[in-house]
Symmetry: C2
Subunit: 480 residues, 2 copies
């Protein structure tokens, strides 16, 4: 079996090489640390689930299309999970003595056999957090606050968490005289407001129109009296959260169930004010509807103002049908899902991540085989001082190729030590980045040899302290 | 679709509930931190691979049996990875410009459709580390040293890393006058030494025997002159590493290729001595053969002396056929694999892990709805001081049930605050564990009410500092 298999992966799948993995790991660790501070606990579930668990008993072949089915020796009907909500629901239904509230996070890959495209993969990482068994709007509040803390910790620049409430949209139906069963269609159209503008939303709610590519967009056939009321609602979008609440209260005055929904939204807004999450980070935006049918209360999403092209990187809301499929029982819950890969792409784009290629901070260059014991001793001395260090063990003999290797992996410091250094009781430390900058500035090889750019010689006994100092200097200059 | 699907998972699969996940995560983070200090870099690959990548072009249906096959829309021949070595090989073959040495770790689940049993799962986590493109025995040395550092960091108690070398076993064949092609069979028998004893090994090497259940164990038919020499080799097992090396050198004096192998083993041993890894942690044990056929040089494994029943928790060695399947080229490499689940089971057994059930250190009890703003403020005050805190948001009203909830999740401190406390500007902090101990010691309810075991009242302004102090006290008393 020599050389006959082509090394490749199937469409929509990919490897994460070390620079990408380091960035993603940092990202996941950061999100984890925020929600662990909030007291969320981790859960893990198998990648493989029964198909009826994944799809519900009445699901058709249509829903199955995006599931990777799996074959086990017992020939059971199995598939790879396509989200983390279904496994959560199964766990809540299966372990009846799990105390509630159950506030868990899970960070795991999910699989969808959809058509792959740029930035669309068939295996991708999801980070979900949910509070199961809670009615209080404080649970929604803490998911929004956690979103803010997470995005701040990831240093994504400016961001905005927008929230609204399905409950308020349901009141809008009452106010507009629109039957509840038409809600799903209406919300789907409202969700397009940001993208297509008010005029087209109006047309789609009423008569429909033909879009620029000539495709007919059918209308919902609402009356203009109904659409006028929706428009009045959509106009309450500017101003701070207090103002939006006040206008909502005015508009919905006397409408059945309105006060309950408006005041719950107001409470969330007030909790957030009290905790210091102001208008610059959290807005009450009535155009947020979130497509999924199952939301029942507050809904929220986050966008990066410095990278809006990535869309919503974080979103969720309140729902109560979690375990319906298994237990036929409604359980109040609220949660959010972080698009790890989308956020990851945004962080790379913003150069907040992806700069680090290796874990090692020092490469000990192996220049002279007779000094190997010294190299080993220095390597472990640095490691034991907590400084990630690699001893070059490859095939290259000269220091030139080994320095190139340090460059390849982005290792910031190289340690050079030959018999000359040994005699004099010193080590040479080379700042790779500084060396590169100076080398470009220098005129010729003679000058280079004289200056030895970025290099410094220190007593052997000062190895660890000097490396520490050099690394401290670099932290300020580099991204992760 | 109400209540019709049973919440369950297929055979050999399992969920990791929060207490288990916290322990496993701590374990994985600890191993990661050791090898990142050594400069290993992370890699991630898709769970789904082409079947020919997984099995090689000539593999038969037999090998396929333990693979979960996967169906994608394009109907390609795909399966879930069964180890992390094959994906590493594919990556090395696929990304030709990846600089070498390539020293990567990967921690990911793998799937095997074998017969499940107690402690044997069909989906399990593996932690692999490999140095690809290195000939130097220092690479083997650092994998052994890292094993020691990892097991020390995990506080597993006493452990022993045993190492030997396939090269030395090959010399044994020359010394014993045994053809090289019989090596595989001979090593397989030697691997049983620990389990069945010298007498049965001797019989299996020669005439064979009938075991206690009446099954015939066929013999390899070696001559007694050959077996005598193997026995002489196996007797070199006591004593320290220096002594074993000296005896080996004596025994193999003049045998072709012996000096090269013995001195490489000696160098590893000497590096380890120099770095402080003495006989108490690393032994040169010639009975270590490691079953897999592909090892070519040093081989190693680790056992926990306080939990020997778990067998080898960590093992690996040097090999050179990594990318043979893809490129038809030999590449020197050495690596090891950690049985995360086995090590995890051992840590639970040793009570070094699994004690922690929640991330939260404080539960803010919600006693009086009119004080909710205070509860929210105190919760975030603690969180912002870096203390993981949960505000109780469930359905229970009275403090009794909420304290029981803290108990369920093992949250060590409960914060109690009612209008009485508010008036006096204090908060009550309850040490849950101390409370339980004292409550058991107290005679009756009256006494309990008087003493309020484990509770202390402190000024509101001292909330954070007091919680910090209480947590510091607890660290010494509890396992993770």
């Amino acid at each position: 079996m020599t050389g006959t298999v082509e090394a490749r992966v199937s469409r929509g799948l990919r490897d994460l090489l070390p620079d990408q993995m380091l960035a993603r790991q940092w990202m996941i660790d950061t999100i984890r640390s925020v929600y662990e501070l909030y007291g969320f606990v981790p859960l893990d579930t198998p990648a493989i689930e029964y198909l009826d668990v994944l799809l519900g008993s009445e699901a058709g072949a249509e829903a199955q299309q995006s599931i990777f089915t799996v074959q086990n020796p017992e020939k059971e009907a199995l598939g790879l999970r396509f989200d983390l909500s279904v496994p959560l629901a199964r766990v809540v239904a299966q372990y009846r003595d799990l105390p509630r509230p159950f506030r868990r996070y899970q960070v795991s890959p999910v699989w969808r056999a959809d058509k792959p495209g740029p930035g669309r993969f068939r295996e991708f990482m999801q980070f979900d957090l949910d509070s199961v068994g809670v009615e209080s709007e404080v649970a929604d509040t803490e998911i929004i606050a956690g979103m803010c803390d997470t995005l701040s910790a990831l240093q994504v620049g400016s961001y905005l968490v927008r929230f609204s409430s399905r409950g308020i949209l349901n009141v809008l139906l009452v106010y507009g005289g629109i039957p509840a069963e038409r809600g799903k269609d209406v919300f789907r159209v409202l969700d397009k407001l940001e993208k297509v503008g008010l005029e087209k939303v109006r047309l789609e709610l009423t008569t429909g129109y033909v879009d620029s590519s000539g495709d007919p967009i059918p209308g919902l056939g609402l009356e203009s009296r109904q659409v006028d009321r929706i428009e009045r609602f959509l106009q309450i979008r500017s101003g701070d959260r207090r103002e939006v609440v006040a206008q909502l209260r005015d508009l919905f005055a006397g409408v059945d169930g309105a006060e309950r929904e408006v005041s719950m939204t107001e409470r969330i807004s007030n909790h957030l004010y009290a905790l210091g999450y102001g208008e610059d980070r959290v807005s009450l935006d009535l155009s947020v509807a979130r497509g999924l049918a199952y939301y029942t209360g507050p809904v929220f999403e986050a966008i990066l103002l410095d990278a809006p092209q990535f869309g919503s990187v974080f979103g969720g809301g309140r729902y109560d049908d979690l375990v319906l499929r298994f237990l036929g029982e409604k359980v109040p819950a609220t949660g959010a899902s972080i698009g790890v890969d989308r956020l990851f792409a945004a962080l790379i784009d913003l150069k907040r991540a992806g700069q680090q290629k290796s874990t090692a901070k020092v490469l000990v260059v192996s220049m002279d085989p007779s000094l190997q014991d010294d190299y080993i001793a220095m390597t472990w001395e640095l490691r034991r001082a907590g400084i990630p260090t690699e001893l070059y063990l490859g095939a290259a003999r000269g220091p030139g190729k080994q320095l190139k290797y340090a460059d390849h992996w982005g290792i910031p410091i190289a340690l050079l030590y030959g018999s000359n250094e040994k005699e004099r009781g010193v080590v040479t430390l080379k700042d790779m980045e500084l060396g590169r900058q100076r080398a470009q500035a220098l005129e010729d090889r003679r000058e280079w040899l004289e200056e030895r750019p970025g290099q410094r010689e220190v007593p052997r006994s000062e190895l660890v302290s000097t490396v520490r100092e050099m690394l401290l200097h670099q932290v300020g200059e580099q991204g992760r």
